[in-house]
Structure formats: C-alpha cells, structure tokens
Symmetry: C2
Subunit: 460 residues, 2 copies
C-alpha cells in the first residue's frame, strides 16, 4: 500500500516543491501584529491544500489569535490507530538587515537547498506531513487515521494552545502524538529527540533619570541605565558559565549514567555541527558538562536582545533615561517556568542598586518535557528511520522548546514521537534559513513507513 505512496511522492516531487515555495512566500510572522493577515493567509492556504489532499474534514479553529488548521482523515477505520500530527505554520521575524542574502519571503533554490524564513522551522515539517498524507490518501488510503493540527502561534510561545488542548480532548483523541518541529545534528546520521527544553521569556527594563539627558551636562552624576543594566546582566552568570540566580538549578533532574552514555554517543556529531554553525571563537558554558549535555540536559539564561540610547550610525551624546533587555531561560525537567521567573525577578531586585529602578516582566512560558524511548510508538519511528536512512537514529535531547508538547502529554496521556527531518545547521531563527530538499523528501518517505510500522504495533 505505502509503496504506491512512495511512487506518488516521486511523481509529484516537483509540484510538492512548488507548493512548498508558495507557502514559504507568505510571511506568517506570528509575533508581529502587522503580519496577522499573512498568518491567516497561510492558514487558509494549508486548509485548502488539506482538502485537495483528500482530508474529509478541515477546519480553521479560532483560538483567539492565529487560527489552528485542523484536518481529519479517518478512512483507516475504527480498528486502525489514529495519529495526531502537530506542526506550526508561523515563523520568526526576518529582515534583510539581519544579514539575509535574498528576500526571506521570496524562496530561492540553490545547490539542492531552499532559502527562506520558515524553510527549516517549520514549514518544511508541515509540508512533509501534509504531502506524506496526500500520497497515502491518493493511492488507496493510509494504514492509520490521521489528524493534522498546524498551529500559528508557536513562535510566539503558543499562548492559547494550552487552553485549546484542554478544551478539545475529544477532537484531539488519538493513539499516538507525532510532533514535527525539530532538526537533526547531522546530514548523514539521523537522530530522534526524546527531550525538549522549556522556555520562559522575560523583559528587563532599567530606569534612571526621568528622561534622556545630555551626557556632558549630567554624565558622572547619574547612574547610566545602560551601564546599570550591563552591571545587572554581568551578575546573572558565574565565571564558570553557570547561572548565578539562587535556586536556579534546584529542580534540575540529572540524567543517569545510562542516559549520559547514550548522549555521549551522539556527541561527535553535535560537536561537528557546533563547529560548522556556531563557529564562535571558543566553546562556552558549564565546564562540568559536555556540549550535548549543555544543550539538552542543562538549563540556560540567555540575553536575546538589548536596546538603549542611540546605537545607530553617527553618534549622539545622550545619557538615556532607560534601557531594556530581553531575557529567556531554557528549562529542563523538573524546572518550572513561573518559579524560574520569580527567582530571577527576586534576584534582580536584590542586586539592583538604589541609583536606578529595575523591573522584570514575564512575557511567555513553556515547560520542559522528556519522553519514554521504549514505547512502541517510538520504536516504530526508529524502524522507519532505519528503513529510509539505512542507519539507526541516535537518541538526543533537544535544546529547543515546543510548548504544546507538555500540554498534549498532560491532557491526552498518549505516547509521543518527536520527528525531525532536516539538518540543524540550517539557520533556524537566523538569516539565510534553508532546508535540504533531499532530507525533506526523506521526511515524507519516513512518514509513509512509520504509519505502516505503527499499524503493526498498535491498534485503534
């Protein structure tokens, strides 16, 4: 049955790619209100393509902000397992000024890759899932029932997904959850993630004088808010790279020796990718942990943005009234986002000198998650990757966050698989984001095998 689907993928490869480019050209930036209509446009595009693919029931679900595109194909019948596939169609902001070589929303194909915002994170995943389903449905039907759920708020931390999942347990009812929003550490050696970090996003604002001042008239008598902010930020880490916030690591679960051994196996690939993509002068971070452990098993505190005064071309001798920084923490089990925010807030209050005022605001959160690698649903995925890649995938712990994972785990209580098809060195969130087309097609093929493997292991 799925051999025909794989044949269909080959025959329609060119059309699939053109459709992928069409979706990439819609700037569905969820965090910017100015792109609200674009997000809606992307959702409508996906809904129409689901209908064309043969999904019986396709809905745009209003969750208060950007809609969820939800499609159901239940043609495998009540005795076959049902898979709920999660993906997101929204993307991070992107500007030419960030260092893009071509317009981030005019996809360019070069050397077997497509360059565009969302190419790797995560429209390639959404399209691989949709096209795998189309191939199966159009060639006699899939071996399992498929529910596709593509959200539009992931890059703004899924503020509404939590409530949605809680309120829609019936609609989301399934036997396996397939999360499709990751990427692999290598182009030759596949891996499967079994852990995700949580995230808590915050904004720190430091106020000094009541307005911007002339730095000649007041310099040396006012605690410069940029300087005060820098002095606060400099106290957020110890010299050994660990986070200096009291209690920050209290709930961190340390992997046992078996897991550490497993993590070490993928280490050379992760280090090679780091050298190629990050390419900083030297590695940095907690000395007691190797690179894979730092990324996957350790929490972080990161400064994602900073602004204050006049930083454009030229020079303005201003002593600014305020300065601000965007700060996020990546969290690991069993840390909690709210508790982490409160600890940081209290610590910053403690270290803020009386010469300025500091305020830390919570913006958005997502909790960390780890899944059981021995579950049949995960083992079916291992088999599908082996079939397509000719290699057993490594198990890895991811540094990124997919907030909805925790909600789905808690509300549905069903086994979960974290699929990755693309390569991590593809500049997700950065300029010149891209995807390797060969890996993208492999992703579709993996799904056709996966559904077959799953049907042999699980019943509906």
């Amino acid at each position: 049955m799925s051999a025909a689907a794989r044949n269909y993928i080959q025959i329609h490869a060119e059309r699939f790619k053109e459709q992928f480019k069409e979706l990439l050209s819609i700037p569905s930036v969820s965090t910017l209100e100015s792109h609200r209509a674009d997000c809606e446009r992307a959702a409508i595009w996906l809904a129409e393509d689901m209908r064309r693919a043969g999904f019986h029931k396709v809905d745009l679900l209003d969750v208060g902000w950007h809609p969820i595109v939800f499609g159901e194909w239940m043609g495998a019948g009540p005795n076959a397992p049902t898979v709920l596939v999660y993906g997101h169609y929204d993307v991070q902001p992107a500007e030419m000024a960030d260092g893009w070589h071509t317009d981030p929303f005019q996809p360019v194909e070069r050397d077997g890759k497509i360059y565009a915002r969302g190419a790797i994170d995560s429209k390639s995943n959404v399209m691989a899932q949709l096209k795998a389903a189309e191939a199966l449905i159009q060639t006699g039907g899939a071996p399992v029932n498929i529910k596709l759920m593509f959200e539009g708020d992931e890059e703004s931390a899924s503020g509404n997904m939590s409530a949605f999942v809680k309120a829609n347990r019936e609609r989301l009812n399934c036997d396996v959850v397939a999360i499709c929003d990751g990427s692999m550490a290598d182009r030759e050696q596949p891996d499967l993630a079994y852990g995700l970090r949580g995230v808590v996003c915050m904004e720190l604002e430091v106020h000094g004088p009541k307005q911007d001042l002339h730095s000649g008239h007041y310099g040396g008598t006012v605690h410069n808010p940029i300087q005060a902010l820098a002095e606060i930020i400099a106290q957020l880490h110890h010299p050994d790279g660990s986070v200096a916030v009291p209690g920050f690591y209290d709930e961190v679960r340390t992997p046992d020796e078996t897991e550490r051994e497993q993590l070490r196996r993928a280490l050379p690939w992760i280090e090679a990718e780091w050298r190629e993509v990050a390419a900083a002068p030297q590695q940095w971070g907690e000395a007691a942990y190797n690179l894979h452990e730092r990324i996957g098993t350790r929490p972080t505190l990161e400064i994602n943005g900073i602004a204050g005064g006049f930083a454009g071309d030229g020079f303005k001798t201003v002593l600014p009234g305020k300065a601000r920084a965007k700060i996020s923490c990546r969290l690991v089990p069993d840390q909690n986002s709210q508790r982490t925010y409160e600890r940081l807030r209290d610590y910053i209050q403690k270290i803020t000198p009386p010469t300025v005022k500091a305020e830390l605001r919570l913006i958005e959160t997502g909790e960390p998650a780890v899944i059981d690698t021995n579950a049949p649903a995960v083992q079916a995925a291992v088999r599908a990757y082996e079939t397509v890649w000719g290699k057993t995938p490594f198990f890895v712990r991811e540094g990124g966050s997919i907030p909805v994972v925790v909600d789905l785990q808690r509300e549905l209580g069903k086994p979960m698989v974290l699929f990755s098809f693309g390569y991590k060195g593809c500049a997700a969130h950065g300029p010149n984001e891209h995807v390797y087309l060969d890996m993208w097609y492999k992703g579709m093929t993996i799904m056709t095998h996966y559904y077959e493997e799953l049907k042999q292991r699980i019943t509906g």
Copy 2:
C-alpha cells in the same frame, strides 16, 4: 548707541521670534547623512538673514561636509576691537518615538517657551547673536567689529573645524573670541562657564558566533555577545563610581582650593537643577567629589547607546552573532582624547574573554579647555550680565564639550568668553527640548552691553 539697539530689539521682538521658529523648523541634523540637504538649507537661511541684518560680507565656506556660515561687519573701524562669535546651527537627531509630545521640527510656543529640537542647543544662541548684531548695525552701527562664524558639524564633533581654523587664521583674526553654545544652571542666577570638558566618542563591537543562532539549539554553549558586552561594560567602572581603565586619571588636573571654593558657591543651584531635570532615584558618581566638581572637573565614561539581538515588541529567541555599544568619555585638562581612547582599547582587549572578539573604534574627539577668568574680555562679560540680570554671574565649569574651543585657543591665542543665555534644564539632546523666551531676549541684550563694555577695555 546701544540703547537704540535695545529699543530695536523690543520693537522687533515678535519678528525675531518668528524667524527663530523658521530656523527651528529646518531639521539640520548633522550626524545623519539623510539630513545633509536640510543642513545646507539652514546655512543658506542664516546667510540670507546675515545679509539682511547688514553684514558686509557673507560666505558659505565649504569645509568638506556642512558649510560654515561666515559673516563680517567691520564698520566699527580698525581702532575698535574685533569679536569673533562662534555658534552652530546643526542639531542632534530627534524622533517622536524618543518621547516628544509634539513634532521636534514644528516649533510650538507654550508658557513663554518654544519647544523644538535645537531650541536650546544651539539655534537660540545663534539667533541671539545674529539679532543682537542686527539691532546694533541697524541703529547706527556696533561699537566693535563683528565676525559671526556658525558651523554645521558641532553635533558630529566638528571633524573639519580643526583644519579650517588652522588654515584660516587671517580670516578669523580678532581680539576676542565669543563662544556661544552653553546654558546656565539656574533660571534666576546667571553663570559664566570658564571650563569645558573634552570628549572622545567610540564604538565597541563584540562578536561571538559567525551569525545569529537559535537560542534553544545553541544556548549554553556559546558566549552570548550581549552578555559578553555587558560583562565588559560592567568592568569599566569601579563600585565607587570611578572609571576602572588603568591610567585614566593620570593627567587629570585637580582644581586648587580657591577654585574648589568658587565651584562650591554655585553648588546649591546645580544640585537644584539636577533634582529637577535629572531626577534619578539617587545621585551617582565619584563619592570624593561634589556634584559641580563631578560635572565640571572630573572625566567620565558614559554608555550612550547599546544594541544587539531582537529588542522590539514581541519576543525572538535569538542568540545574536554580535552586539555593540556607543561609548564616550568626557575629558578634563590635561587629558588627551587619543591617549584616552588607546587606554580604553588596551584595557578592553585585556578583559575580553577568549570566547568572543571585541573591537573598539574611535569615532570622533574634542579636547578639554579652561580659560582665564581674570582676562578683561571675561570681566566685560561679567559686567554685561550684571547690568542685564542685576546679579553677578557665578563662574562654573561646564560638563559639555565644544571641540572648536581648543582649536581657536591654540591657533588664535586670543582671550575667550563662554556665553550662556538659556537654562540647562531645557532638555538639550533629549525629547521636548525648549528655550525660555525671556532668557533668549536677555541674551541679545547682554551682547549689546557686552560690546560696549569691551570697547572700553580693549582696543583693536
């Protein structure tokens, strides 16, 4: 003679104000290339008004960037002293987003004040000089010869003035230099500045990974450039508020007890102004020096701007490839701008960790200056202020910088007076910059008295 001029000022007060507003509405922002034509427009406007005022010889002098407006009125004859008046018509950048209540380039009159960029710094000074000269020339002639020199690059640190002054000693030949670009610490008690700080403007850039990264995928393994920049900035001051750069204070000349006593006299006014305008939660700075000493006699290191990553609305979980800060030092005699830059550069190299690269670039400089308060040219000014204000002005040391002062001192070797007419609490360089009209008219009147006083003390 000058009584007629003061009458003329009263009669033409309304027209003077409308002309002042006209000049304020030209956005002559010298540091932004996009405003080059506006600077030229302001220069032409001034040249035309000089001609209307009766100046014999008016030129726009090309100094490589924005022109100098130069006007000569030599009608007092060779036996009368010649005064070279310096001012600048360019202004700092200004955007509504900085907190302006009205368009910075559409002057608004309210409660006896005019709000606009350049209202206090320094178009009010330029116009007070020009209108004082007009009043004298149009009512029988001034008691001294007057050369007006208004430059257009002061707010971008007078890059070309130094060479211009050197090459134009003949043209600038005079008996007294009147610098007109300051403001006073109080609205009721006039003061006269006798010291100016120098300035050295720099940009610090910190590079980490070769591009922006996903903070989930790489967070905790890369030294975040914003964090590294903050850690460097936090090491630029000691906890006692002094600058931590080795050798920074080596050449600082400490005022003697007589001068410190003189500075203490103006302290209550300077403190009152600080509380009203700066209004930070607490004073900050070198504990061993009082507020007036910190502003006028001590050098500073200020962070004028900072930028890195994504700091706009929403949140972007980026780990940026680089971050930068604008840094300036205010200098006092006998510090030197180049030596100060080199010391900071070397110190930053020393404290930059191997996980990032840091580069400090020199942008622009101006040297510090102190003038002799006993010179007859200065005493003539004291008398003119007394006549108009009914109070003896305090002598103060200014925190700001006027780079050309040092060039004029060195090349012409003539006595110099630092005139201030406006109030320091008028948001120079900040949003809602304004000027008090009563003080502005007093400024014109002071000049008519000054020229008379000067003629009695000095011959040409």
